[in-house]
Symmetry: C2
Amino acid sequence: MATGIDSKAPQRESVTRERILRAAVDLADRDGIQAVSMRKIAHELGVVPMALYKHVSNKDEILDGVVEVLVGEIDPPATRSDWKTAFRERILSARRVLLRHPWASRVIESRTQPGPALLAYMDSMLGLFRSGGFSMDLTHHAMHALGSRVLGFSQELFDDNADVDPEVEAEMYRAMGAAFPNILELASTVLHDDSTVVGGRGCDDQFEFEFALDLMLDGLERLRDRA
Amino acid sequence: MATGIDSKAPQRESVTRERILRAAVDLADRDGIQAVSMRKIAHELGVVPMALYKHVSNKDEILDGVVEVLVGEIDPPATRSDWKTAFRERILSARRVLLRHPWASRVIESRTQPGPALLAYMDSMLGLFRSGGFSMDLTHHAMHALGSRVLGFSQELFDDNADVDPEVEAEMYRAMGAAFPNILELASTVLHDDSTVVGGRGCDDQFEFEFALDLMLDGLERLRDRA
DNA sequence: TATGCTAGGTGTACGGCGTACACTTTGTCA
DNA sequence: TGACAAAGTGTACGCCGTACACCTAGCATA
């Protein structure tokens, strides 16, 4: 009681690197990635923007840190499973993280150097391949081939999550019909098939993701066995 | 000579949508994508920033247009080839475009809706699958699986083009050794193997790209034949 | 020839951004 | 008690996209 450090008074919890990262994640979850600015993070913490610079050196460092936080949310690899199951499960765990944080893939893509958590994740994924009997060379190619899929996302060419009302969409397809017959046919096939699919959206993203993942894993396994 | 529209005086060529797009591409090629701003484009055209808004409605429209320009640079599909060769060649042509414009993949990723040129490209690629005897369903999954690879790029997890001097890099690997043994082993394998590779860099990106592409195409072909 | 419309270009301004730099405040220990 | 360092503040700069009012030149019509 003499020292004055008694944790009595709540005294407006002070800023730390960790609180900054948490605020950034929360902000992105709540208001989207474009809401993550030094000013808004600071506001969230009840502090002036420049105060953040006592704990991080710039915004990029915050984004790097956010990626590390996200990677930290991925489950550890299952022990006592064959390499393929363990690998697949871990990727699907990463994917669940990304689905919780829809803005995350954009942030990850924007980073240019991996931090310790991401390195550890990659190292562990490499280890799974090696334990499955893959040569170092093939493991290397495999990781490149998988690309961002090892983190649970794939780069779709355009975001079909845009919510256009079905009427407009139907009109669009009609207009496209003459010029783009294959797209038209694809659209009608997909829309027809998926009447039962969750959300009524065009395609089942989870299915497409696992389809592509298994296509790669099976192909890689075949290459391993051929050698 | 009476009308006054004589094309004698050069009279400082006026702004058009096309000149705006060309200026944007040139600017990105020369100074990087972050240099593409309304102000800089306008400056490039010898005009005030707000003048651009008489020809495009906002910056997003310019970026959409830039993507269309890029897609227009992709070679048309080879006629008289089997589906796989034609498909592969066209993707590699798209890749050449992206290598000419290293900033392009970032712009493409940032777009949310495809324009006419991209739709036409996709339609034609779908057509190649169909002509190769793929069902509409399998074609659909194939396009999802390929993702941005149909446009010639793959989303690498981090950009190993960062130019760190080899000494620093070696030190990094040494430090990593204990914590990330697999990465260390991979790095030494790759660095050893690639002493002859173009540019002396870590990996041969073109090889990795084609490796992954062929892995997918072969896998897809097998699925087609099984059905 | 005079009138007025229109397309294209201008100037100013606003609110956002990241962050450099100089400052005050606060808490700790000698 | 006084010094020092760490944490937080305030102001300012140069960027960004773009809303809005304005000006100007060229043209068709009366």
